[in-house]
Symmetry: C2
């Protein structure tokens, strides 16, 4: 029985990173695949655990060889998900969780139509904006850019399997967990039907 | 606001025809698109309502021009969904319901990734077999073929948006209706976010 590829995505500021951390803490059998990046390894990071650190040439070679499930460039550095490690985990029957930007999520869906895309949405755009301001990572101009990007991303929302609102974190994590369980139940049911002797 | 394309599919004998009729009876704002076929018009049928009746040459021309969203051949006749009429209805903001075989449903999903595919599954293969026998339409050999086809179709189940069991018809129609409502709610919510002034 192959594992399920769950992709958690949503506009910047919807809290997908926090949701992922909560999901992993709950120990519900989700496996993270280690991403690759061309940026330098920071002091507190562990190669092969935090990221696979590769050169820009090597990263570009992997793109050319279709070895990346998705990739994107942030601040001049490449970030991506090597296909091999994801496929290996799924082949071992393990469910995989990817937390990626909407553009990457749609790339994954094109290459693997069976991926389950969960779209995290904010309760309102006003709330999204105040969260972006609140975390204090971006300039005013960058925040305006992120709001614009969010609008484009929302326009693609119908390509996702499900939308989940992140209004209150605990409730949102519960909803994501329930949806993951629903997909697992579907898989078990199909497998039982296929194995039934008639 | 564009309409949503709902596709109801599932192995032969799962009752998708009956479910569709029930959905339409309930008047929940779903529009059927009229299929095209090369088979002859029967006495009780109305051209342009039951089907669009076209010649085999015309049907093949439509396939070659990518004018068919999906098509299949049964008993030597072509059956298919003309893309134009579906796109027109969706453009007018109307939700469309297609009831098609799994192979056609997967064709639609490839051409229109935003289509919502609902997979109707039987409570068990034993039950599916006895329903096929019960309706008395096929020979024993044809039933064995349909069971084999069902196994292939079940193996593609992870490409659908949702699985719904048809154990008890009323319950099943309720579940389908609730899922359609969920998708409509998602669309309204996204639209509200996109229109929000901030």
């Amino acid at each position: 029985m192959k594992g399920i590829l769950f992709v958690l995505s949503g506009p910047s500021g919807t809290g997908k990173g926090t949701i992922c951390k909560e999901l992993l803490k709950r120990g519900i059998g989700l496996n993270l695949s280690v991403s690759a990046t061309t940026r330098e390894c920071r002091k507190d990071e562990v190669p092969g655990v935090t990221y696979h650190y590769v050169s820009t040439d090597e990263f570009r070679r992997m793109i050319d060889n279709s070895e990346m499930l998705e990739y994107a460039i942030f601040n001049g550095n490449y970030y991506g998900t090597p296909k091999e490690s994801v496929i290996k985990l799924l082949g071992e029957g393990k469910d995989v969780l990817l937390e990626i930007e909407p553009q990457g999520a749609l790339q994954v869906k094109q290459l693997m139509p069976e991926a389950v895309l969960m779209f995290i949405i904010p309760p309102s755009m006003t709330e999204l904006k105040s969260r972006l301001i609140g975390r204090g990572r971006e300039t005013e101009e960058e925040i305006a850019e992120r709001i614009n990007a969010a609008k484009w991303e929302l326009a693609q929302a119908d390509k996702y399997s499900v939308h989940i609102i992140n209004d209150e974190l605990d409730k949102c994590v519960e909803d994501v967990t329930a949806y993951i369980q629903q997909k697992r139940d579907e898989r078990v049911r199909i497998e039982n039907l296929m194995n039934e002797e008639i």
